[in-house]
């Protein structure tokens, strides 16, 4: 697509003296090798958490929503908080795979596969909540506009909760297709490299008979670009629609026009934090430090800084307009003086500290390139963004227009159990993925090796930009 020349000022994206072969071997290693003990330990923990959460879900559905800590004032709390949190996390994957593709960011190639996997697994978790938070989840299929025996009783298309159904299901399906098309050449690589007959069979099926002909690659690129072009508005609209759940209402604090772009920025913010959390561990465990380099981590930190900055401007805007509106009700919203001093002050300050203060440290280059610190900041942001959603939902609901219905919320063990269960489920899926899928899009990394690999950049520095003399001699 773009030319092969790259400015020498750019840092390499693949370190070490890598050949195409090295990439195949190193990306294939975790899949073709065996899991070690620590994988089994972590997997068991995740599985237990998942099963515990499953138990909580079954208990909720069979006993009733009353086992949660909800009350008549606060009808949404952990359920929708977790829903928005998980959907938000999912957005980074699409941002990396789609938006960064449109912006031709070569560094995305090392991280997109895992980010997309994270998207899909996060959206699966998110998708649980709209169903299990229903009073009668067995009637959930009524949200679909299907012809029926009730005189064709239809859904009302005016509700953002219905838009959510369409948004989330479209998002999941498009992300899945986008992810899978990208996987075809990589599955084919595994199919061709494995010596195990069973594995060969499986990857043969998964790779849909990919043979890597010129025409296939050409169409592959076109499909990727079209899907990226479609996924970008999709990712914006999905979280926009999630934000509409709140913003279309007349609840003080919820009714705010900035919610659509602000939620999207927050989603990318939290999503990138989750990508950092996962990749910092993964690059170490599966020995991919040469592909997911410090530079990648720094770039992601910069995206975190940018989106965190946008979110901060939105906080300031919310706070300011709350005051500017002159409405007394606005003083109890999640970003107001009332919230900072009221019964949920701890949640308010948790949000400010985690999402505003701590990420500011990333402005310092040393800290931005410090892996341990990045990991800590990423965790803090994950917590902070959970609090953001919690604050928006619970603080705004807790003190509505009528003081006689003011209430507080405290979760029960079932609320917490379900959330822990989704975290467990997420890691179950992600750990299985890391053992069976090529975690780096090796086919894509191979396309940037010669323009952005350290070895080739050094060659150019030594022999000049004329690429002719080293195009075909791998180190």
């Amino acid at each position: 697509m773009s030319s092969h020349y790259e400015a020498p000022i750019r840092e390499p994206l693949v370190t070490g003296e890598k050949t195409y072969h090295d990439i195949s071997v190193e990306v294939g290693a975790p899949v073709l090798g065996r899991a070690n003990k620590s994988w089994y330990i972590v997997f068991t923990i995740a599985l237990i958490a998942f099963l515990w959460g499953l138990g909580c879900i079954i208990y909720t559905v069979s006993t009733g929503i009353g086992v949660w800590g909800l009350n008549k004032t606060i009808g949404w709390a952990w359920d929708i908080t977790n829903f928005v949190w998980w959907v938000g996390i999912g957005h980074a994957g699409t941002l990396i795979s789609a938006v960064l593709l449109l912006f031709r960011q070569k560094w995305r190639m090392a991280v997109n596969r895992s980010a997309e996997a994270m998207t899909i697994f996060a959206v699966v978790q998110a998708g649980l909540f709209p169903i299990i938070h229903m009073g009668r989840p067995w009637l959930a299929y009524w949200v679909l506009p299907i012809p029926n025996q009730f005189g064709s009783l239809w859904v009302n298309f005016n509700s953002p909760l219905l838009w959510d159904v369409f948004a989330i299901s479209t998002y999941l399906s498009v992300s899945l297709v986008f992810w899978w098309t990208g996987l075809l050449p990589d599955f084919a690589m595994l199919r061709d490299r494995t010596t195990n007959e069973f594995q060969k069979k499986i990857y043969g099926i998964l790779s849909f008979g990919w043979s890597g002909r010129v025409k296939d690659w050409q169409r592959f690129e076109e499909v990727s670009l079209v899907l990226a072009g479609l996924a970008t508005p999709l990712v914006l609209s999905v979280h926009t629609i999630v934000s509409f759940d709140f913003a279309t209402s007349v609840v003080p604090g919820w009714h705010s026009t900035i919610f659509p772009p602000y939620f999207v920025a927050g989603a990318i913010f939290s999503g990138f934090a989750m990508v950092q959390t996962l990749l910092i561990i993964m690059r170490k465990v599966v020995n991919l430090q040469d592909y997911i380099t410090l530079l990648h981590i720094e770039y992601m930190n910069k995206v975190i800084l940018l989106t965190g900055g946008i979110v901060s401007v939105a906080y300031i805007t919310e706070f300011f307009i709350g005051w500017y509106s002159g409405t007394s009700y606005e003083n109890y919203t999640y970003l107001s003086f009332g919230a900072a001093t009221g019964p949920y002050a701890w949640a308010f300050w948790a949000l400010i500290v985690c999402n505003f203060v701590v990420p500011l440290t990333l402005w310092v280059k040393k800290l931005r390139r410090n892996i341990l610190w990045t990991f800590i900041v990423a965790l803090v942001i994950n917590i902070g963004m959970w609090f953001e959603r919690f604050d928006i939902i619970v603080i705004d609901l807790s003190k509505g227009r009528t003081p006689s219905s003011w209430a507080m919320f405290s979760p029960t063990f079932v609320d917490i159990g379900v959330f822990i269960g989704t975290i467990g489920f997420f890691f179950v899926l992600f750990l299985l993925y890391a053992r069976t899928f090529p975690v780096i899009a090796q086919a894509e990394v191979k396309t940037i090796l010669k323009s952005s690999g350290e070895y080739y950049k050094n060659l150019r520095a030594k022999h000049g930009d004329d690429v002719a003399h080293h195009v075909d001699n791998d180190p």
Partner: protein, 454 residues
């Protein structure tokens, strides 16, 4: 080296002069007292709408005022119905007179801001290209710098207008009104004249300072042996973007949202930004094509044009996203204090309001989706002109309904405003481009940019 042709220079000067005359005429021909206004209205009634007009105009008027938050005094009067019939008539005429006197101010401001925001938006685009270390765009840097040459005169004029417009634009500057209005008193901590002026001056200095520093470093890089000027620019751009996102937000509140000081919307500032950004990119593309056509940008190829057109396309969609986000949420919740903003725009500006959507969204999305078309200059020019007209209307709709209410017109004064600022814009951008070589020598990404093919 590009030189501004004498033909173009003459055209620009003629535009400025004709525009200035038209603007002066606009100011002179406003009714200075109620007698003149009555005559004007009577002439209007006979000329255009016939006899029924008087009655119709009264009903629209009442309606207009009830929804016209900006001139809260009149609307308060209606709401509380505390005034006697005669008194009501007087305040009605007074209000009408005020709106008519505001017309030339508004006409001037629409054009002044429209061209100013192009320069500012181009500066933001420039800063983003630096910060993102874009590899495709450095060949366009001198062009963008040329467009931002309008920033200094443009921003000074805009700031002068907002400072001297007084109650023509900003009802909260009317002390009598504030005394009666509890809501406005509550806001006076922010909406007070000295603080308003200080903020405007801070924006003015900050934006122009970055323009100055960036241009100086960019030129210094052409002769430098190290990358120091480039690195300085990188840093300056980061801090400018930080400064900009905050000042743009407050600028939108100050200059536009406070025209209707009872109304508020959290998204508003970002919406103004989207309009600014897409117009600026469009103008960059148009200027690039012009210079390429006359043979001054040999190092720019159609891939660069393709990328600019993609940005035009993408940010047209982004603008629509924000427009729709704001509209849908206010329409859906239908809270009385918020819907006023859209009611007046839909009832009194119907065609413009929805026509703008066609121009700003439907046209660009249909014209620029094909990747081959994005490489054809005349096609991009066509789309660009549509986008610019659409965003002029957008700014028109930002200002007019809030200041002159239902009494808008598009006549000599409005056209004169466009001509004046267009002439000034062409002159400033042309002389800016003519100052230095258009080849941004020394930029570390220049070779990458020159070899860029998509």
């Amino acid at each position: 080296m590009y030189t501004l042709s004498s033909k173009l220079k003459l055209t620009a000067i003629i535009l400025v002069i004709v525009g200035a005359i038209g603007l002066v005429y606009g100011f002179i021909s406003t009714p200075s007292n109620e007698e003149e206004l009555k005559e004007l209205l009577a002439a209007d009634a006979h000329g255009e709408h016939g006899a029924e007009h008087d009655e119709a105009s009264v009903t629209t008027e009442e309606h207009g005022m009830a929804i016209d938050e900006g001139h809260a005094k009149a609307s308060e009067g209606h709401g509380e119905s505390a005034h006697a019939e005669g008194e009501h008539g007087d305040s009605h005429m007074e209000h009408l007179l005020h709106q008519f006197q505001t017309k030339p101010w508004s006409a001037m401001f629409v054009s002044a801001f429209f061209f100013f925001m192009i320069a500012l938006g181009a500066l933001v685009f420039y800063a983003i290209q630096y910060v993102a270390q874009a590899g495709w765009s450095p060949v366009l840097f001198r062009v963008i710098e040329g467009v931002t040459n309008y920033l200094l005169p443009g921003s000074i004029i805009v700031v002068l207008i907002v400072i001297f417009a007084g109650t023509h634009f900003y009802p909260w500057q009317n002390h009598e009104l504030v005394e009666e209005d509890v809501i406005l008193q509550g806001k006076s901590g922010y909406l007070n004249f000295p603080f308003f002026v200080i903020r405007a001056i801070i924006y003015l200095i900050g934006w122009n300072l970055y323009r100055f520093v960036a241009r100086r470093n960019s030129l210094a890089q052409a002769t430098a042996t190290t990358l120091t000027p480039y690195k300085k620019n990188f840093k300056a751009s980061v801090f400018f973007l930080l400064f900009f996102v905050i000042t743009e937000t407050t600028m939108a509140w100050d200059w536009f949202m406070s025209m209707t000081p009872h109304w508020y919307s959290t998204l508003f500032a970002w919406y103004v930004f989207a309009s600014m950004f897409v117009s600026a990119i469009t103008v960059i593309a148009l200027v690039t094509m012009f210079l390429k056509k006359i043979g001054h940008l040999k190092f720019v190829n159609d891939s660069h044009l393709h990328d600019l057109a993609k940005f035009m396309f993408a940010f047209s969609v982004f603008w629509t996203y924000l427009w729709f986000g704001q509209f849908l949420l206010i329409w859906y919740a239908n809270i009385p204090e918020e819907v006023t903003y859209f009611i007046i725009r839909i009832e009194e500006y119907n065609l413009l309001f929805f026509g703008m959507l066609v121009l700003n969204f439907i046209f660009p999305i249909l014209m620029l989706i094909n990747s081959d078309y994005k490489r054809i200059p005349w096609f991009v020019i066509m789309a660009g002109v549509v986008i610019l007209v659409g965003h002029y209307i957008d700014i028109f709709l930002l200002i007019m309904p809030s200041t002159v209410g239902p009494h808008w017109s598009f006549g000599i004064t409005e056209i004169a405003g466009i001509l004046f600022f267009l002439g000034l814009f062409i002159f400033c951008v042309g002389t800016g481009l003519a100052k230095e070589s258009l080849y941004p020598k020394g930029n570390p990404f220049l070779k990458e940019s020159e070899n860029y093919h998509y």
